[in-house]
């Protein structure tokens, strides 16, 4: 049977040679990087990772192509960061630069989300969703498709240069570069109309920054996913350092159940399992590890919790007829409970996760509330600094203002600008309505500058006086206020 051959091959098969290049015993300070040849794993988690990869890559590459009708003359791209027009479009949401605090909210949500996921499942972000993991996985997939699985790749790298080897290497790097270029290409589509930009890029008409960004992202994708891989996680990424603080005794992470596995050792078919552990030391878990470590050394900074070693070991356990789960998502709490002879317990709901969940709910509700009640009318008042005030023929004093009326709705609005808060002050403008307010039209989806003059009686008194401008939509009644100052001083 298969399992026998596999175990019998341990003396001549590469599987036995699989040494964890980054395992504790080989982790010398001055060591040069050693190439890792991850073996293809089969199982639940490998399939989960394929699915996550497909979904995430699809989201990344396809999102800019989703169309969303916003009416004539306005961008019809569902997700668009329009630097030139200073707008951020996200489906039905449209944000102006002064509303970037929504982004802050998103970042808070993202942080809490990663805290929560860490408290529940350890480095699940690293293992399944991090772009570094996803693209590395994609690159390894390409590598495997062209050069074969672990053993073939090792053999190929050791082999002297031949035409076949060169062809394989060249096509691998070509496809990597292509993926990298497409990745960089997709990035720029988030910042401009995708179909237009797509045509411009190939016609050579796109702007220099566009090509520059594609170039930079092509390079980083190729370098990070193709050549640097696990080094990014181990040496460049801050998250492995932070995550220790995020994980508690009940957090699940990929664990070798040492209590069940040891003492490890080779096992011949038919031999008794009494007095020994379940680990047959086949080193399959090492062979599949993309980080080049041995999970049996315990929790390690290098481990991205990709769970491929679970798949590899479960496979072996089935072959040798032992229960699966020698390597599994497990917690320290469970290890202690097993040692104390108690039943295992998975505590997903505990104070820490409830707190994270509740905080996320609060931030989420606050953001939704903010978006739902978002004001589409606002104003900024800029007082003229020179001259600070003007004395008029009749002795009264005038201050001048630029009132910027911000209309975030897609239609022009009839508005009034009203003044309050200072006795004896009145608005002076060509378009004064009978009740002393200024009538104007706020242009659609833009800022309209209204020059406003305020005149106060000469007895207003020296110094700075507070006043308030109110802009009001004459139809809907929506309004916004802004405080400003009125200055009067000695005559010259």
């Amino acid at each position: 049977m298969n399992k026998v051959t596999l175990i019998d091959r341990r003396d001549d098969d590469h599987a036995i040679d699989a040494h964890a290049v980054n395992s504790r015993e080989f982790r010398a300070l001055y060591k040069k990087r050693e190439q890792i040849y991850p073996k293809l794993a089969h199982g639940v988690f490998r399939n989960l990772k394929w699915a996550a990869m497909a979904v995430l890559l699809a989201i990344y590459y396809l999102t800019p192509w989703i169309r969303w009708d916003r009416g004539v003359g306005r961008p019809d791209q569902a997700v668009l960061i329009d630097f030139e027009g200073r707008r951020f479009y996200f489906f039905f949401i449209e944000l102006w630069p002064q509303e970037v605090y929504y982004i802050t909210g998103l970042l808070i949500l993202a942080s809490l989300g990663i805290f929560l996921s860490s408290a529940l499942f350890g480095r699940v972000w690293c293992g399944y969703a991090c772009p570094q993991t996803v693209w590395t996985d994609l690159y390894i997939y390409v590598e495997r498709a062209i050069e074969g699985d672990r053993n073939e790749r090792m053999r190929l790298d050791k082999a002297p240069w031949s035409f076949g080897k060169a062809a394989k290497k060249a096509s691998k790097h070509a496809i990597w570069l292509l993926i990298a270029a497409v990745t960089g290409g997709a990035w720029v589509f988030y910042f401009g109309d995708a179909p237009t930009l797509f045509r411009e890029i190939f016609a050579g008409e796109a702007s220099v920054p566009v090509y520059l960004f594609i170039g930079v992202l092509t390079f980083t994708t190729y370098a990070l996913a193709g050549t640097m891989r696990e080094q990014v996680c181990t040496y460049m990424c801050p998250w492995p350092r932070i995550q220790a603080a995020m994980i508690d005794k009940d957090a699940l992470s990929v664990t070798y159940r040492v209590d069940r596995g040891e003492p490890r050792g080779a096992h011949k078919k038919g031999e008794s399992w009494d007095g020994r552990g379940d680990c047959i030391d086949c080193r399959q878990c090492v062979a599949v590890c993309p980080q080049g470590i041995d999970i049996r050394d315990g929790d390690q900074l290098e481990c991205i919790n990709c769970a491929l070693c679970i798949d590899a070991c479960d496979d072996i356990m089935r072959r040798v007829g032992r229960p699966t789960g020698l390597i599994a998502y497990d917690s320290y709490a469970n290890l202690e409970r097993r040692e104390a002879g108690k039943a295992m317990r998975y505590r997903l709901i505990r104070p820490r996760t409830i707190l994270y969940g509740a905080l996320m709910a609060v931030v989420g509700v606050a953001m939704i509330y903010g978006l739902a009640t978002r004001q589409t009318l606002d104003l900024n008042v800029i007082r003229d600094r020179s001259p600070p005030f003007v004395r008029l023929a009749d002795g009264s004093i005038r201050n001048d203002y630029d009132v910027k009326v911000i209309n975030m709705s897609p239609a022009p609005r009839q508005i009034r600008i009203e003044l309050s808060g200072l006795d004896g002050a009145r608005l002076q403008a060509p378009r004064l309505s009978s009740d002393g307010a200024i009538a104007a039209v706020a242009q659609a989806d833009g800022v309209t500058n209204v020059r406003v003059h305020v005149v106060a009686r000469n007895d207003v008194g020296e110094g700075s006086h507070d006043l308030v401008f109110t802009v009001r939509d004459t139809q809907s009644g929506a309004s916004a206020e802004s405080a400003s100052a009125f200055l009067a001083g000695e005559r010259r």
Binding site: V390, R391, L392, A393, D400, Q414, D435, T474, Q475
Partner: protein
Amino acid sequence: MADKRERDEISGTETTGHEWDGLRELDTPLPRWWLYVFYATILASVVYWVLMPAWPLANGYTTGILNWSDRDNVRAEVQQLEASRLPMFERLGQASVTDIAADPDLQEFARAAGASVFGDYCRTCHGAGGAGAPGFPVLADDVWTWGGTLADIERTLRVGIRSDHPETRMSQMPAYGRDNLLSAAQIGDVTEYVISVSAARERLSPDPAAAARGAIVYQEQCSLCHGPSGAGDRTQGAPSLLDDVWVYGGSREEIRRQVELGRGGVMPAWEARFDAGTIRALAYYVHEMGGGEPDAPPPPLPEATPAAATAPAQ
């Protein structure tokens, strides 16, 4: 020295061969990638010398085969910018007052262009934002010597005041003191009278007896230009004396000095310097500082939608 070089056990790297109080130093080679980047930068600098201006010569510099010149680039860009603005300036130069009043784009352009030119040419005397300075009238207020409609301001800009333009705006107040046209006592009296009719009277409390004497002098000497009531006459460029705004200062002493010296400043004629569009932009900017007077009846209230017109004002 070389014989003392040895390999460090832990790192496998050679040492420099020196020893200081038992301390030896590793001679770690430069990282390869760093070295190659360094070579690449050297190579790039050579390429740069060939392509771009690089080395100073006795009378000039090596221009490089790309003929790159920042100076030319800036010149070209400025020309391009000016060309792109030209149509707007032409439109503005041909627009009537009502055209401007009806066209927000034109207004925005005129304001921006006017502000820019004002900052370059007018601000030196009239101050930022038309704040004025002693001897240079405030432009932001509503007091105008030669008229404050858009057309008046534009004409002042075109022909200047006491300038060398043949049609210049021209007025000359006699120097009553310096040229001995009036006695010192008479000048004192007329100063009191002027204060008594102006809005400064509360501030300066003129002497009633002197003011009464001064009234006679005023009617003889000043009323022809400044008007019998002191309201001034814009057609002659004679300022109103009724307000409390004084080009040469509003203290009793400053008002008296002006009667003595009859000063009048010079404003250049800008017609030869600027095209019609620029002059109109300037006029519009000054007019909109706040004291501009209407050329025509004010334009009707703007309307966004027909429904808005019928909406009751609250």
